[in-house]
């Protein structure tokens, strides 16, 4: 089909937009898409926006909030857990954490340590049942995001939009 905008070039880009349940389809040639400022759309690699940038934009629907209990450097240049005040130096001396947040605070340094102790750094055992619902949603989210990436790559935007809405919905549920 020819681009309905210029009527000259073939329409190579097909967009589906769903706003409040109303579906709008757009078919454009590359030139007209750029003209309309639609060059950031997927499949239009030359427009300065890479596919990955777009993808990460799509996946980070929620801006990451600063995690509680992050590490800060104290005066002596040692990492310190902001929740309990334990420094990494202290930890390395006593071999005990001060609180659960120390795991987040020292995460980067901890991973090689856990690997050394256990040969692994990821939990594969039991999950407390009260966390089960939340973890299930998160696992589902991961799956959907992966699928979304594949759909975008395959230029199946209608399906991608449907997935995006489902991701938003699940993320809302996690927040509650």
């Amino acid at each position: 089909m020819l681009c309905p905008e210029c009527g000259k070039r073939p329409a190579t880009l097909h967009y589906t937009k769903i706003v409040n349940g109303i579906k709008t389809e757009l078919h454009l040639c590359e030139f007209c898409a750029q003209e309309k400022g639609l060059d950031y759309m997927p499949g239009f690699e030359s427009g300065g926006f890479s596919f990955h940038q777009l993808l990460s934009g799509l996946l980070n629907l929620d801006p990451p909030s600063g995690p509680k209990g992050r590490a800060v450097r104290d005066g002596q240049g040692s990492f310190r857990c902001t929740t309990c005040g334990l420094t990494y130096n202290q930890f390395s001396k006593v071999g005990r954490f001060g609180c659960a947040d120390c795991y987040k605070a020292f995460r980067d340094r901890l991973e090689p340590l856990l690997r050394r102790i256990h040969g692994h750094s990821t939990h594969r055992g039991k999950i407390p049942s009260r966390n089960l619902g939340e973890i299930k949603i998160r696992r589902q989210l991961e799956k959907l995001k992966h699928e979304l990436a594949l759909r975008i790559q395959a230029e199946e935007f209608e399906e991608a939009a449907r997935l995006r809405d489902r991701i938003r919905e699940l993320q809302q549920r996690l927040k509650q």
């Binding site: 659960a100 901890l110 973890i135």
Partner: protein, 359 residues
């Protein structure tokens, strides 16, 4: 309820039941570490925070609408309410750890009446659920501990991270928080000097071998505690399976060594176990190390049918009763080392005499 119940008897009710492979495996233990979300670990907790942990756990266990079946008649005991000796007896019975007895602040323990379950509070972690079963059954012990964990979790939110698992005070426990161990009696492997080859092999498959009172303790009476080292990256079932698989092989080796000893040096073995029995039955002074060694010999003699008329349980009982804390508790007073050696000899003589009369 007073602590008398737990102090009076050396052997716990659960020990009276014969478990699988009980001629070599005395007991299976599973301990899981848990911490309450939002409160510092015991090392950094203030007095009021530690108190809050103890209160919340006690409240959960006391007031739960449906008490866990294994905790129906459970007793709540604060370490501060116990004398040094009483604490020591609980350690010697393996119901609490030395750390809880000696170093904990606002430490407490919830004990099931048959003493198979103990929930330590404010030890290294806020909560440590321990289940002890006779013989080789770490799987059953895990199932019981896990069901108590599930039940407690309804009332108490645990510190958990999706990637790192259950968050514990020490990174060596993180993930599953599980430490499963079995206490094995390996006299024939010791006599045939094979332990030196066996133990390094065990550590290579992610297990540790220790004395019977845990880290740093001496192996008394050829009793060893074999436990998992890895707690992260494997499921609880894998951890238990690994331990169980290795222990089964140790049992086979020990059995083979016992057969070999009977085959090649039956008279010497018979002489040795009976000499040890004679010493236990007649000595007037015996230190704890020798007592444990002789008891180990006699236990082997009973298991091999060389010594008759003495139950294996008497040996288990004496192994606990001849420990310093228990001896003093039994005597009702503090005793010097020399006094203990005399008391120990007397207690063993009397106990064996009682057994002889009843058989």
């Amino acid at each position: 309820m007073s602590l008398e119940h737990f102090m009076r008897k050396a052997i716990s009710e659960w020990m009276r039941v014969k478990g699988p492979q009980s001629d070599i495996v005395f007991s299976s233990r599973v301990r899981i570490a848990r911490n309450l979300r939002g409160l510092p670990f015991p090392m950094l907790a203030t007095a009021s925070q530690a108190e809050e942990v103890a209160r919340r756990v006690e409240e959960a266990v006391r007031n739960a609408a449906n008490r866990h079946p294994l905790l129906q008649d459970a007793v709540f005991v604060k370490m501060n309410d116990l004398t040094d000796l009483e604490r020591r007896v609980l350690v010697e019975k393996h119901l609490i750890s030395p750390m809880l007895a000696e170093e904990s602040r606002h430490g407490a323990v919830i004990l099931s009446r048959d003493e198979s379950v103990s929930i330590m509070i404010n030890e290294e972690d806020h909560i440590r659920i321990q289940v002890l079963y006779p013989g080789l059954q770490p799987e059953k012990a895990w199932e019981a501990a896990s069901s108590i964990d599930d039940w407690l979790e309804q009332y108490l939110p645990f510190a958990f991270d999706e990637d790192t698992g259950y968050l514990t005070s020490c990174p060596t426990n993180v993930g599953t928080g599980i430490r499963s161990s079995v206490m094995v009696h390996l006299p024939a492997l010791a006599m045939t000097q094979q332990l030196g080859r066996l133990f390094p092999a065990i550590t290579q498959v992610g297990l540790a071998v220790r004395g019977i009172y845990g880290e740093g303790s001496e192996a008394l009476g050829q009793l060893y505690q074999v436990s998992n080292q890895v707690t992260l990256g494997q499921s609880e079932e894998e951890i238990i399976d690994n331990l169980q698989g290795v222990v089964r092989q140790m049992i086979e080796h020990e059995q083979a060594a016992r057969r070999k000893l009977l085959e090649l040096s039956r008279v010497q073995l018979d002489d040795r176990v009976h000499r040890s029995y004679g010493i236990l039955a007649h000595s007037r002074i015996i230190d704890s190390k020798e007592a444990m060694m002789r008891l180990s010999d006699v236990r082997l003699g009973i298991d091999l049918g060389l010594i008759r008329g003495v139950s294996a349980n008497v040996m288990n009982e004496l192994m606990v009763m001849t420990q310093p804390g228990f001896l003093q508790q039994y005597a009702g007073q503090r005793l010097s080392a020399e006094q203990r050696d005399v008391r120990r000899a007397k207690l063993i003589r009397e106990r064996l005499e009682l057994e002889r009369q009843s058989s």
